[in-house]
């Protein structure tokens, strides 16, 4: 253990890793603070750069950029009432109300401090949860993997804040995209329409860049520019945070735990964690009437929650290759590219790399405090940059980045196509995240499904025979039926209250 820890330290204490991490932190802070540019987009645009870095430096950039972007989304949320990332949307109003009361320092300071605490709690969960789960996962057969993947996909549709039917349809669309190409059980060209470019299938990364970045530029074309940020002088940002920590330690812990759980659930990410934690904080608060008027309690809990989910989202990603959220979906792509194929054996064969990931998460979250404070102080200047100057650069990065992934122009076509698909889906209430998970997990689901079917000779029964498989199957089917139950319950409830009213 000590030896691997020293090895891990040696891995991360190279100049390449240190510079990559620092640059990615600044990049994440800037992108996250710009309204409309999400943490997922920041990470997706980073992938082409990671191509040219060593494995550890590549992961370092993703870890640093995603953690920082989730925090810095709080900045425009608090100062402008426009969340920089979806993960800050849940409490942007609350933070803005605090700014109007003259407590901008306290709101932003709580953002930095509890984000960092949440991030570190998330890493601890990753360190504690992953190895024992890896032990269990070693005995998994294709049946378990199939149900696990299906459960992941179903979770993604459950937590989507839209119609579950549309979410499932989005997931199927993603799976269908993953069918394209010759990488299938028979090795025959499937849905390629004779185009050689499609033989290799649709790369997940250009698809992600299209869905998250190009679609965002498309939306910007139709929405008015956000107002500029009023310049202001900040007092001490960290003052009072220790007092808040002591006062709201229980809320903070609850936020961390909820964030960790939601992060581990496949498909549910930081934005979901923030919504749930904010609602929970309001529900269990001793002074719920203060919520919405500039009360720091919800900020503490939700801020601790969304950053905790970032690290714990890596648990299923590293163990099974099932992404915990969209950022982890990108990270999985990078892991494969760098020869760190996700799976339980990663923890035994590449233990030092795993420790290096833990260490980088911890360092990124500690680094967040000074960099975050600096960012808050200069945010007014960065937010002066007009959208018409940022979006063109994003477009260029999309074009060059998607070209760089395979050094061919088809990547750019993919980005453009998925930009349109993402835009149309979003506009019509189809959750994009569900499709992304479908694309990323498609090959794995199919492989597990077809191999299981061949093993069972076409019979369905063996899918339920092993105990773990049966439990996972029950959970997956339950997740599928859950919306139906909610629907029935909603139908029954008004009838009952109506009946009660008439009998009275």
């Amino acid at each position: 253990m000590l030896k691997t820890l020293i090895e891990a330290f040696a891995l991360i204490s190279t100049w390449e890793v240190i510079i990559a991490m620092f640059a990615a932190s600044v990049y994440g802070l800037v992108i996250g603070s710009l309204p409309g540019l999400s943490a997922t987009m920041a990470t997706a645009l980073l992938v082409p750069v990671t191509f040219y870095l060593s494995p550890i430096a590549a992961i370092a950039t993703i870890v640093a950029a995603s953690s920082m972007a989730i925090f810095s989304g709080d900045i425009p949320g608090a100062l402008l009432r426009i969340p920089g990332t979806p993960a800050s949307a849940a409490y942007a109003d609350e933070a803005y109300a605090m700014t109007r009361k003259g407590q901008a320092e306290l709101a932003l300071g709580a953002g930095v401090w509890f984000s960092a605490v949440g991030g570190i709690a998330g890493v601890l969960s990753l360190m504690i949860l992953a190895p024992p789960l890896a032990e269990i996962a070693l005995s998994f057969s294709t049946f378990e993997y199939f149900w696990l993947a299906l459960l992941g996909l179903m979770c993604a549709t459950l937590v989507a804040r839209s119609s579950p039917v549309k979410a499932i349809a989005g997931m199927f669309l993603g799976l269908l995209v993953s069918c394209i190409g010759i990488e299938n059980p028979g090795g025959v060209p499937r849905f390629t329409f004779g185009l050689t470019d499609l033989f290799g299938g649709i790369e997940p990364i250009p698809a992600l860049v299209g869905v998250f970045a190009v679609a965002q530029v498309m939306r910007a074309m139709l929405t008015p520019e956000p107002p500029p940020l009023p310049r202001r002088k900040f007092g001490s940002i960290m003052a009072g945070q220790w007092m808040l920590t002591k006062k709201y330690h229980w809320q903070m812990t609850r936020g961390n735990i909820v964030g960790i759980i939601i992060g581990v659930l496949p498909g549910a990410g930081a934005d979901m964690a923030a919504w749930v934690s904010y609602a929970m904080s309001k529900r269990f608060s001793k002074e719920p009437e203060k919520f919405g008027t500039g009360h720091v309690e919800g900020l503490v809990e939700a801020g601790a929650s969304n950053n905790a989910s970032i690290a714990s989202g890596w648990v299923p990603s590293l163990l099974f290759g099932i992404p915990g959220d969209t950022i982890a979906a990108i990270a999985i792509g990078v892991l494969y590219m760098k020869g760190l194929n996700p799976g339980p054996t990663l923890f035994t064969e590449k233990a030092s790399s795993m420790y290096a990931i833990y260490l980088m998460f911890i360092i990124a979250n500690i680094l967040m405090i000074p960099l975050g404070i600096a960012m808050i102080r200069i945010a007014a200047y960065i937010l002066l940059a007009p959208r018409s100057a940022i979006m063109p650069i994003i477009m260029l990065c999309c074009a060059v980045g998607s070209f760089a992934i395979g050094n061919n122009m088809f990547g750019v076509v993919t980005v453009a196509a998925f930009g349109i698909i993402g835009y149309v889906m979003e506009a019509n209430g189809y959750p994009v995240a569900a499709m992304v998970l479908g694309i990323v997990m498609g090959t794995m689901v199919e492989q597990a499904f077809v191999t299981s079917l061949i093993k069972s000779d076409g019979s369905i029964l063996p899918f339920f025979e092993r105990p773990v498989a049966a439990i996972l199957a029950a959970m997956a089917i339950g997740a599928l039926l859950w919306p139906v139950m909610v629907w029935v319950w909603r139908k029954v409830k008004p009838v009952r209250t109506g009946a009660a009213a008439t009998s009275r």
């Binding site: 269908l176 499937r190 498309m218 063109p392 909610v486």
Partner: protein, 164 residues
């Protein structure tokens, strides 16, 4: 771009049926009951069923309930933008520019193509020429420096090779 559910649902039914049929035509692995045909068949069927459900408005209640959930509405409410007849078509500009890049980059070279892309996007978003022109002149070189020089992505030189 908001289409009625019946349109998107019907599209999904057609797409699902087409992929199920396409999958059905594929040969199985020799000597096995299943192969590359099974998965598209299952997905296509599922997609078509979802499409049907959407056409009939199943699950629509969840969407309406969802629109209430962003309680205090995180986005600052802004005045509705002026709506011309072709206003919504502006959204297609970014993908169109990307396709322009695909077609033109090899002939014109990266710098020129990128400059055109930047200028058009920036102007479309409301920038004056005072901002758009210097941006279009400088940003391609900056991106080329990062991707072409540091990361060694083979960007096409075309008509205007970079000095490095």
């Amino acid at each position: 771009m908001r289409l009625p559910d019946s349109v998107t649902g019907s599209f999904l039914v057609v797409l699902g049926a087409a992929s199920a049929y396409g999958g059905w035509l594929l040969p199985p692995v020799p000597g096995q009951p299943v192969g590359p045909n099974v998965f598209p068949l299952v997905i296509g069927t599922g997609l078509a069923l979802c499409g049907l459900a959407i056409v009939f408005g199943i699950g629509h209640t969840f969407e309406e309930a969802e629109e209430l959930i962003p309680l205090e509405d995180g986005q600052a409410a802004a005045a509705p933008p002026p709506q011309g007849k072709f206003y919504s078509l502006r959204a297609l500009l970014p993908p169109a520019l990307l396709l322009f890049y695909v077609v033109a980059a090899d002939r014109l070279g990266f710098i020129i193509t990128a400059a055109i892309m930047v200028y058009v996007t920036s102007t479309a978003l409301g920038a004056k020429w005072k901002l758009a022109l210097p941006l279009a002149a400088l940003s391609p070189f900056a991106i080329h420096l990062i991707f072409g020089k540091l990361l060694r992505v083979p960007l096409p030189a075309g008509l205007l090779p970079t000095p490095w």
